[in-house]
């Protein structure tokens, strides 16, 4: 017999770090679900198993449920078994599984809402659904209990959701599962969901890629973070007979690629050129790419502002973007000298600004900046800042002003200076 084991679809996940782009990221996960169902259909599987966390939360709105059902309806030949996980537990009348849309769920969908044995395709599904978000009880104990009934010569597949109880790698109330649970329960295959990267175990030992094991966590089928290797798969499992070793195939289904690119602003033109080149490479798949650009290096406010402006348009075609600004912004020595010549008072005010920045963000003092004549008293700095942020001096915390603030201050200044010079 043959089936797809997937888990942790987290449909309706927030992605709030992407702001208005979050919706696209949410939508993509439905697309991935369709991909996986199609692959299951093509492989003529006996069923499609979802081992928990199909939904990000029991309180996702009905649209999410309807969209999900729509995907299932497209493949009526694929029986779908859904197990409630810790994100979407079967925790009472308000649980998602009791919601109205489930009254008219597609006919190929079965929710394993209660612990029990379900027959399918000549195999027995021993399900241990989660009833709450947190629990210190091993959910496979239930499976062991169910397994006491005679198997009648059928293949037995356990399905549940939880963290593998490796010391130091899990929280005690995160539905801990003994790592050799498949042996203890005596099932032929234990389908587990929870962790988001691909893992296979046998007798409590991690199994190298390419080797088969009987306890599988396929991870999330669609990555949801940068640098998340090992996500983006479902498991295609084949078991010939009871007690025989299952054959587990890692099937990629992810729609998106998540990339992190670096840009050294110290040499902005060169950095920009390099970045442009990399972006061009992935441009064809722009609508399937989430890009993060990490800015670093010492840079003048003007160059930084220009770079950011450029990035805004350069990243526009990609599905979602993130800019991590780790640059150190500073006027160049030449700029400082020029200011000194033009206005000694302004040059002094700049040393004060650098001093306050140093006090507030503990940033290094820029080269060519002599702070010996700058504001030296912390109280005075605080008094100044308190006027700026409209608070009483005794309540003012300099750290209210962050690096971003000082970058902006420098940018404003350089912008105004430029205008004043013209």
């Amino acid at each position: 017999m043959k089936f797809i084991h997937s888990a942790d679809w987290q449909l309706g996940a927030r992605f709030s770090q992407f702001g208005p782009k979050a919706e696209s990221l949410r939508q993509v996960r439905f697309q991935t679900l369709e991909t996986a169902l199609r692959k299951a259909d093509e492989a003529s599987v006996d069923f499609f198993l979802i081992a928990g966390d199909l939904f990000e939360d029991g309180q996702v709105d009905d649209t999410v449920i309807h969209t999900t059902f729509e995907k299932f309806r497209r493949f009526p030949g694929v029986p779908v078994f859904i197990l409630p996980g810790n994100h979407d537990p079967n925790d009472g009348p308000s649980s998602i599984w009791n919601r109205k849309p489930f009254l008219t769920k597609p006919s190929n969908v079965t929710v394993l809402a209660e612990p029990g044995v379900t027959e399918c395709g000549g195999a027995q599904l021993l399900a241990s659904p989660l009833r709450q978000k947190k629990s210190t009880i091993d959910p496979t104990l239930k499976i062991a209990e169910l397994a006491r009934q005679p198997a009648d010569g059928r293949i037995r597949i356990g399905v549940t959701h939880g963290a593998l109880a490796f010391p130091g790698k899990h929280e005690s109330n995160d539905h801990p599962i003994v790592p050799d649970a498949e042996t203890r329960t005596g099932v032929d295959y234990l389908a587990v969901g929870h962790w988001h990267t691909w893992q296979v175990y046998d007798h409590g030992r991690h199994v190298m890629p390419g080797t088969d094991g009987r306890l599988v966590m396929p991870g999330t089928p669609e990555p949801d973070a940068f640098e998340q290797d090992g996500a983006g798969h479902v498991a295609l499992v084949e078991i010939s007979s009871p007690q025989s070793k299952p054959v587990v195939q890692k099937v990629p289904v992810a729609t998106l690629q998540w990339m992190t690119l670096d840009l050294d602003c110290a040499d902005a033109p060169a950095g920009r050129q390099g970045l442009e080149h990399r972006l061009a490479e992935v441009k064809p798949a722009a609508d399937r790419t989430v890009v993060r650009v990490r800015l670093h290096g010492r840079v003048s406010p003007r160059v930084l502002a220009e770079t950011r402006q450029w990035l805004e348009s350069a990243l526009q075609p990609y599905l979602a973007q993130q800019v991590l600004d780790e640059t150190a912004v500073a006027l160049t020595v030449a700029e400082i000298d020029e200011i000194k010549n033009r206005s000694p008072l302004l040059a002094q005010a700049l040393t004060d600004l650098a001093q306050i920045e140093h006090l507030a963000t503990n940033s290094p003092v820029p080269a060519g900046m002599d702070l010996s004549q700058a504001i030296s008293s912390l109280d005075e700095a605080r008094a100044l800042v308190s006027r700026v942020i409209g608070e009483k001096p005794e309540k003012t915390d300099l750290t209210r002003l962050d690096a971003e603030f000082f970058k902006l201050a420098h940018q404003l200044l350089s912008q105004e200076l430029q205008e004043a010079t013209q």
């Binding site: 309706g12 309180q59 308000s94 109205k100 008072l345 409209g390 404003l412 205008e419």
Partner: protein, 901 residues
């Protein structure tokens, strides 16, 4: 610029042409009483210098003489660095303006009309107003240098070009146009979003708008989260209710089973209970009957037993009575016997007693007689002793009353006489020898020779009755003296002593001292003998004090003896009996008598015992009689009782008891078997039944309630679950993120602009502050000169306004709080400082129009010193109505009428 002269025509009070000037480049005093037009003159001068000739403003019209429409005309001659100028303006009806410059002693026209006006403005740095007449702020430096009469004592704002010039001059602060420009752009950037005063988001600004929206979103988020929390709580409650429902169900089931069981038992009991009750009643009757019979039987037996006991007792009593009767008879005979014996013994005792008494009387008689003989002997001895004593006393009374003291005195007198005699015999020649040095002297007196050693310078007296021979070693002074005087003296003393002795001897009746001594001896001897005799008499008297006592006693004894003898009448034989014989007789009689006494006591006791015994016998016999009567009564009563019982049970009481016992056992068996048919605690069953039913009812109600709650909660939960709270929260979070970023950006931008602005402002002010100090020094010193108080310092703020005066910044007295006089003087000091700073590039004129109204005369004098000193560097025009205040300083100028314009 300094003023040379001012000419007016058709201005104020002046219809003709008047002139002031030429003015001195130093101090000018224009003294005139009020209302003579001093201020009008200066005002008109200003109009000519600063106003356009075409102006028709109220201020210009006011120049005209009151009630006329004459055209006012003003000409001012002034000097600048670039030369001497004359500006002449006629206003209103025939507006005209002409500027001339002095070139080579000639006025050469420089321009007319607007051109002239503009040139003057350029020369003076003044400004053209937007509309109307010029105001002080258009007058350039004049604004600061001209103190106008009647204006508030305050320094004008430092603004405008002239102020910049003055400030730059005064404080040497370079105006940095870049800083000013940046500051102003940053400020306007800040003001887009913030209110400058409080630093709060400005209403209507983008930040305030974003924050408002953010607030709304957050409120909504809070609501959604509140709902989510509520959902969670409800869920927990629902779980609790579900568990409770299960518990209640189980409980109700158990209670129901129990209630059913109890109910069935109760019904069974209900059927069986009447039978049991009947049997129980029968049992109770049987028990009562049995007890009654048993009681009677027991009473009959007890009465029988008592009867037998009584009979035995009666027998014993009768026997005892007989015994007592016998004892009484015996006792009676014993008593008679004992009484006889006692009488006999009493008789014997009387005999013995009489015998003893006689023996004792005789004995006493004999003893009295012996005592009488002894007393007679004692009396004789005492009487002889007393005679001896009186003899001795007789002898003593014959010896004179000599005492050892008297004898001592006699002896002393005798001795004195003998010594005086010896001296009288010796006194004849007396020689005093006093050698110069230690010498030896040989003296021969009455043939006897002796040698003397005399120390040098010491006098040795040698006396002799008859002849004295002295051999001297060497030579010394020899002085021979007669002893006659001394002899006479000694003889006198001897006579007195002899007379005294003779008198004493005569008094004693003695011939000489020796006789007196022997008499004293004899007296002493007599005294000793008298003492011995007294002792002897006392011994003889014994216990008696004196002879009379002894005699009285003797007489008494004698009488006693005689009386006793008479009473006894002893027979001759009895008199012959000796005392010892009598004593022996007495001793023999005494024990006999004692034995008899004892016998009497013993017999009396025995007699009493017998009598007592007899009495108790009689008593007991009487008691027994009474007792017997009582016993007989009791016996009869018991016999009656037994008879009655027998009468009631004709079949025999024992038979009846056995029958009642059987009936009781039977009834008991019946009750037992009826009870066995019932459950063990059948009595509590009805109550238990009710309780079980009630408990079940309660449990049922609880269960129902719990189910209802559960159902209600289920509804709520289902409704809440369907709301999709998470998705709403996601959506809100996203919107909040966007809004927050928007607000943060706006805030950050505003704050950054404000910080940049403030930092520049701070640096600018610091720079200004740095150059304020020299100016403050200058002001302080002028003010000190004016006031004579040197410890105060003047403080300026960054805008060159006077903050106040004081010893230090901490003790600073704010300008507004200073006295009017001090304010005036400070203003003057600042004006002079400003003018002085400006004179370096251009001569300057300071006009003081009656500005020291509040300054006292002492200060006034100092003011003159200061003005005179200042006049070295600038032109000063003082307008005053107190000429006396300025007498003797500067140039006195006046308003002169010229007649020809």
């Amino acid at each position: 610029m300094i003023l040379e002269s001012v000419e007016l025509k058709n201005v104020g009070p002046f219809r003709e042409t008047v002139r002031v000037g030429p003015l001195d480049p130093g101090l000018n005093i224009l003294a005139a009483s009020n209302e003579t037009g001093k201020s009008t003159l200066v005002k008109a001068g200003a109009r000519a210098l600063f106003d356009s000739h075409g102006g028709k403003s109220k201020e210009i019209k006011e120049l005209r003489p009151a009630g006329t429409s004459l055209a006012p005309s003003v000409a001012v001659v002034f000097r600048c660095k670039s030369g001497n100028y004359r500006i002449e303006k006629t206003f209103l009806e025939s507006p005209r303006s002409q500027l001339s410059q002095m070139v080579d002693g000639q006025w050469r026209p420089l321009g007319e009309a607007d051109q002239a006006d503009r040139r003057v403005r350029e020369l003076l740095g003044s400004e053209k107003p937007g509309a109307g007449a010029t105001k002080p702020e258009h007058w350039g430096l004049f604004r600061y240098l001209w103190a106008r009469q009647g204006e508030a004592v305050a320094w004008p704002e430092w603004d405008g070009e002239a102020a910049k010039l003055v400030r730059a001059r005064l404080a040497r602060v370079e105006i940095d146009p870049l800083i000013e420009r940046l500051k102003s752009s940053f400020w306007s950037e800040y003001e887009k979003n913030f209110t400058p005063a409080q630093g709060q988001p400005k209403a209507g600004g983008p930040l305030a708008f974003a924050e408002k929206e953010l607030g709304d979103l957050k409120a909504e988020l809070k609501e959604v989260r509140g709902k989510a929390r509520e959902l969670e709580e409800l869920q927990i409650r629902f779980q609790g209710f579900s568990e409770q429902t299960t518990t209640f169900e189980q409980e109700a089931r158990k209670l129901k089973e129990k209630a059913d069981e109890i109910g069935q038992q109760a019904r069974q009991v209900e059927l069986l209970l009447p039978e049991l009750r009947a049997h129980e009643k029968a049992l109770e009757a049987a028990r009562k009957e049995f007890h009654r019979v048993d009681g009677d039987l027991r009473a009959a037996r007890e009465a029988q037993d008592a009867l037998q006991g009584l009979k035995k007792e009666m027998e014993q009593s009768e026997q005892r009575q007989q015994e007592l009767k016998d004892a009484e008879v015996e006792n009676e005979s014993l008593l008679t016997e004992a009484d006889g014996a006692l009488q006999e013994v009493h008789h014997r005792r009387a005999g013995l007693q009489a015998e003893l008494e006689r023996v004792q009387g005789l004995l006493k008689l004999r003893r009295l007689k012996d005592a009488l003989v002894d007393l007679q002997k004692k009396l004789q001895e005492a009487e002889s002793q007393a005679a001896a004593l009186s003899r001795l006393q007789e002898e003593k009374s014959k010896i004179p009353g000599l005492t050892p003291q008297k004898l001592g005195k006699l002896k002393g007198l005798d001795q004195d006489i003998r010594e005086l005699d010896a001296q009288i015999k010796v006194v004849g020649i007396t020689m005093d020898l006093t050698p110069d040095k230690a010498s030896r002297v040989e003296v021969t007196e009455s043939g006897a020779k002796r040698s003397l050693k005399i120390q040098g310078g010491v006098t040795e007296t040698l006396s002799s009755g008859q002849a004295l021979r002295v051999r001297l070693e060497g030579w010394g002074e020899v002085r021979v003296r007669s002893g006659a005087g001394e002899l006479k003296d000694l003889e006198e003393r001897r006579r007195e002593a002899q007379a005294e002795l003779s008198k004493a001897l005569a008094e004693l009746g003695v011939e000489n001292v020796e006789q007196a001594a022997s008499l004293l001896e004899k007296r002493k001897d007599l005294d000793g003998r008298i003492r011995e005799a007294t002792q002897d008499l006392k011994r003889a008297l014994g216990d008696f004090d004196d002879l009379d006592g002894l005699k009285a006693r003797m007489n008494q004894s004698d009488t006693e003896h005689e009386n006793l003898r008479k009473s006894l009448h002893p027979e001759s034989g009895e008199d012959a009996l000796s005392i010892s014989g009598l004593e022996a007789q007495e001793e023999t009689l005494k024990p006999g008598l004692r034995d008899v006494e004892k016998t009497i006591q013993r017999d009396e006791r025995a007699l009493k015992e017998l009598a007592d015994k007899q009495a108790s016998c009689r008593e007991e016999r009487h008691l027994k009689g009474t007792e017997l009567a009582k016993l007989s009564e009791q016996t009869k009563s018991h016999e009656r009782k037994i008879e009655e019982t027998r009468a009631r049970y004709p079949e025999g009481i024992e038979v009846m008891k056995a029958r009642a016992g059987d009936a009781f056992t039977e009834a008991e068996t019946r009750v037992e078997s009826a009870r066995r048919k019932l459950p063990p605690d059948y009595e509590k069953l009805p109550e238990g039944n009710r309780r079980a039913a009630a408990a079940f009812g309660e449990a049922q109600r609880d269960l129902e309630k719990c189910r209802e709650d559960c159902q209600r909660l289920r509804g709520t939960l289902e409704a809440l679950g369907a709301e999709g709270l998470y998705s709403r929260e996601s959506q809100l979070l996203e919107e909040i993120g966007v809004k927050k970023a928007e607000a943060d950006a706006a805030r950050r931008r505003g704050w950054a602009a404000r910080l940049l602005h403030d930092l520049m402002e701070r640096r600018k002010q610091a720079a200004t502050r740095q150059v304020l100090t020299p100016l403050e020094d200058q002001l302080s010193s002028v003010f000190a000169e004016l006031t004579g108080v040197s410890v105060r310092r003047i403080f300026l703020d960054e805008n060159l306004q006077i903050r106040g005066a004081g010893r230090s910044e901490e003790e600073l007295l704010a300008f507004d709080l200073l006295s009017q006089g001090a304010k005036e003087q400070l203003m003057l000091a600042l004006r002079l400082a400003v003018a002085q700073a400006l004179t370096e590039t251009e001569p300057q004129a300071v006009i003081l129009d009656d500005v020291l109204a509040n300054t006292d005369p002492v200060r006034q004098a100092r003011v003159l010193d200061v003005l005179q000193a200042a006049a070295q560097r600038m032109q000063l025009l003082v307008l005053t109505c107190h000429p006396d205040h300025y007498r003797g300083v500067g140039k006195v100028v006046s308003i002169e009428r010229c007649g020809i314009p």
